[in-house]
Symmetry: D2
Subunit: 349 residues, 4 copies
């Protein structure tokens, strides 16, 4: 079958073609389906920034390896046990790209995200075999195209779980990248008041407005602290979601947060970046509660239940057939589109 494969490690933006990473469609065998597994004919798989990180060597993997973890599709084969538990050929599914063992210290203690034996198969391919614990059914009113975002939506669901928001609290989301935009939409449905977006790219402002932002501030132009004071009546934001991964924004949300605010760092930051955290000012005088998230434990059922309420069409309108995967990655690298999708089986809509 066809698979989008990292064939050479390297920064895909590198000017020097010798140092540049490369992605190609290669032919690989389909895995056999075990008793507790299902085979999915993949409809769409969207590109995630972490696919780029895999290619540029951040995770230390050796090429060649398959890419992709944000997918939707149809079940085409069902193992014996999986069938007994209700999975059927023809079910439309998305889900959790990570298969957790259910047996290690973290799994038996309710922290599956840190499973010591997690396995992930590549989803940018014609077919993928998953354990029966991974798929969730796509609601009837959600298209296969939008459903490939179940995985990124689950990331946002997890971020929201960790905000511990109470209805009516003031919320700011920093960064209108895909996770930030999904967080924005979701928190708009999850109790936010005076919902504010920080984003320096004006091209993203219209989408932010459409997705629920009442106020949009440009950290490169606006006096963010002044406006935050105005929006929140000098009290600051009770919930702050940092989804840009930009160090200066990581610091900004400290200064616009309310006393006792919850801050969630939801992006990837440079590995050598240290946030300078003034304990006296932020933890003592304000009692901030600061945390982060890693993937999306215990979130997929709820994601499938809420995804139908989201407006995802603007995030899934750039699509390339699998044979043009390289072009899809170029489109992603252009930074023009919130998301770029690969149509892994063009006969599936």
């Amino acid at each position: 079958m066809k698979q989008v494969t990292a064939v050479k490690i390297g920064d895909m933006k590198a000017m020097n073609p010798k140092k540049r990473g490369r992605v190609e469609v290669t032919d690989v065998p389909v895995k056999a389906v075990g008793d507790d597994e299902i085979k999915i004919k993949v409809a769409y798989c969207s590109i995630c920034e972490s696919d780029l990180q895999a290619v540029d060597g951040t995770f230390g993997w050796e090429a060649p390896f398959g890419l992709g973890h944000e997918l939707s599709g149809l079940i085409v084969e069902v193992g014996k046990t999986a069938a007994k538990h209700g999975w059927k050929v023809g079910d439309r599914v998305g889900g959790n790209s990570r298969n957790y063992c259910g047996k290690c210290y973290y799994c038996i203690n309710g922290r599956e995200q840190y499973c010591q034996n997690a396995i992930e198969e590549p989803g940018m391919a014609e077919y993928i075999v998953w354990n029966e614990r991974q798929p969730v059914k796509i609601p009837k009113d959600v298209s296969l195209k939008n459903a490939c975002l179940i995985e990124p939506v689950s990331i946002a669901v997890r971020v929201l779980d960790k905000t511990y928001i109470k209805i009516g609290q003031n919320v700011v989301v920093s960064g209108a990248e895909p996770i930030g935009l999904l967080c924005l939409q979701l928190i708009n449905l999850y109790g936010a008041a005076n919902l504010t977006m920080l984003e320096s790219n004006p091209l993203r402002h219209a989408l932010a407005r459409k997705y629920g932002a009442r106020h949009i501030l440009n950290p490169e132009k606006d006096d963010v602290e002044l406006w935050a004071d105005k929006i929140t009546d000098r009290r600051g934001f009770d919930v702050c979601i940092e989804a840009s991964g930009v160090p200066s924004s990581a610091e900004t949300i400290l200064n616009i947060s309310a006393k006792c605010a919850h801050l969630v760092y939801a992006a990837q930051y440079p590995r050598d970046y240290y946030l300078p955290l003034n304990i006296h000012d932020q933890l003592h005088m304000k009692e901030l509660d600061i945390t982060g998230t890693f993937v999306s434990p215990y979130a997929f059922t709820r994601t499938a239940q809420i995804i139908g309420r989201l407006d995802l069409d603007d995030m899934t309108d750039v699509v390339f057939p699998i044979d043009q995967a390289a072009e899809a990655f170029e489109a992603h690298l252009s930074g023009k589109h919130p998301k770029v999708l690969i149509h892994c089986n063009p006969d599936l809509e």
Copy 2:
């Protein structure tokens, strides 16, 4: 000043006029404004079912006494300390009808709702004097008419606080009375999936639909348990809000709740009613979490911040001038309107 006053204790629906309770507009003095107080010229005050309970003697009060606790208005006088803390003549305010002492066991332990020295002045009057801790400013985009619902909205905010909902959970609200309708709107903005309303009065169904219900079940006609199974894929509702006060509904939500569901009993039930709770089935085999609410502690700032997102026009379109307060109560008793408002100072819009 004019005040809507209970002048005779008794059921206002009683057929026998001798036993019937009576409400009249009487003339009473305005209270003086203390240092830490403000005086409000009341715009609107809506009728609450508990005003009827006050008249029929449920609370054991002796007539005559003033009524009303759901109000909006303009500040017309400000005490010295209140002024120092920022309150100004002309501020548009609604708020907490209950003034808590801040000093008793419950106040110093974060449970102000059970304050041992709470005081409540009547709000169905031309003027009311409040402690500076009671008012909240009405947001610019909210009319004085809608703002008299700040108090009932705060009740719903408190109900939601106690649901401990996680985004994407399945939710049912039972009862389309005012608190149920407000809970419905708010929980639709607070993470609900597959939002379902139980209501036997078909006249309320359109409003429920408008306020966010995806499914509406009539407990007198529909097989509620069957439909709940269908809506929730046989898992039950993760959050159940009972806002009808009807004993049979109190029992119904036990049977349509999911394992580990949170149930909040948010209505007034007959004082001699005992819910038959099967501990084995509901607490052991399902680990339900069952609670209730009493008024709305620590909820008013957030209420003011979220009220602008609610659609309240259908709940505030029946208005009587204060001189027709008796007619207003009759309109309320007709059961035709979700809310009936009294315009306490017809010059205020």
Copy 3:
């Protein structure tokens, strides 16, 4: 190998021998050890009230079947994967008698206790084969004899998880049966103030005192509500654990609970028993939070970490060799001992 087996269904206390249930030691084959499994040579297995329920037919099982789920022992064989994950022959272990699938709706949503495919092997036998997710290592300072209580201690750990106690709150535990006694010891180490035990059997009072009860009330003799008022300065208990399973006690704790108290029903109640719960008095006027527990999800690591701080010798001093299993059940039925242990391999100490 030898196994303690229910060979006839029936109440073991029945006077009529024809209707009486019967337990015998039978010879059964040892299971083979799979890749992700380990074989334990069982040291001790204690009798639980639910073993009696299995025999009397409460669970609807057909005889013959093996009994026992509270066990400790030594690992004597390790499957390939289990070995890779660190399990070794000679490890001293207790643990979770229930093997969860890790794949069903409840497992992937953090509610493993309701796993739809849970499996339990009998532990009152010379050997038992467990999945590698089930065992936890016994701390060095805990004997094999005391370690068979890891499972019942985990039940109490779970009860405590659901109390949401804050340090310094007033606590009452109702019922000095094994789970009540373990809850008492644990809550004494988990923030309790004015720790009070309700128990009508005076023979259990000394143990309750030893395990941390500051006050002991006899519901058959003492005016419990009067004393509760005195102990808590008329505020009631903030945390109430009902571990007796006695209907009258189920009702008593409602009346001695504080406003906003957490009540956990932690025992088995008759399946046809309905607690009469006055919603107005208990949920509205007091905002009680009422829940129950089912087995002990996500609790075993913490159980192993805390068990060394408990005083268990008085609960493990009645021991019968496996060949005298019938006598062990008789001793249990006498009601004289908090726990009766079966020594499954008398060469293991």
Copy 4:
């Protein structure tokens, strides 16, 4: 009356006497008792590090001003309202030195610690007048001498509130200063397993051991990370309390914390100190939850209820009469004693 007064601003450790701060006993009038107030004849008042900060100018106060907020004593006069609410002459009390207004934004939102109108009277004096919301009764089995620690114990209670510990989790406390020692004792009663103390001063180790530490590490000599791995089976501590205020320790607890651990910074840190927090390593790969505390909101009732379970004699055995207040401060500055007490009315025991 006599009052311990800061008469000159400056570092009390300064070598140059001209720059040195100074504390003296001065004569000041006793305040009159308002309706909702009580007057306390102070028995003991202990010295807190923040008294030194007041003297050295950290808070920007202008001399002269009275010191002290950790006190116990007898009520000698009761205002009318306070009497109505149950306070009596002769009541033994300690309590909250801060009087909150109950009316500002923070008070009405359940965050009284940030009250915008908090008032604090000096407690190192023969008498102090408090609002009736401040005192709590001292339990019968607690001496006046130990009861002056109610305030610092409340600080530790608040720290524990923010650990969100689950019973059986691994806990480390860093710093055996008074708050660290009290946290150690309390967390030992609040679910801790493998309780570990980090302290570089070997003179404090015996007390740490006595107060419940199972393991004591010296960060100046021991390889703390290696030992933490050993104690926690390479998983790290689930709860980390930093009570030393030392920057290097602030960083150490990041590296010995478990995935998903709760870290509470409970000390005063230099105002210009920034903790270098690696978001990728600590918030993303570990999902740490980091917070701090400010004073002790909603904690005094529970403090009074739990204080009788603490062993405080070693922390209250260094006592100076009020006339030797200067010597008391010198003793405190010597660093030899966990606490130094001033006996404000030597006739009260």
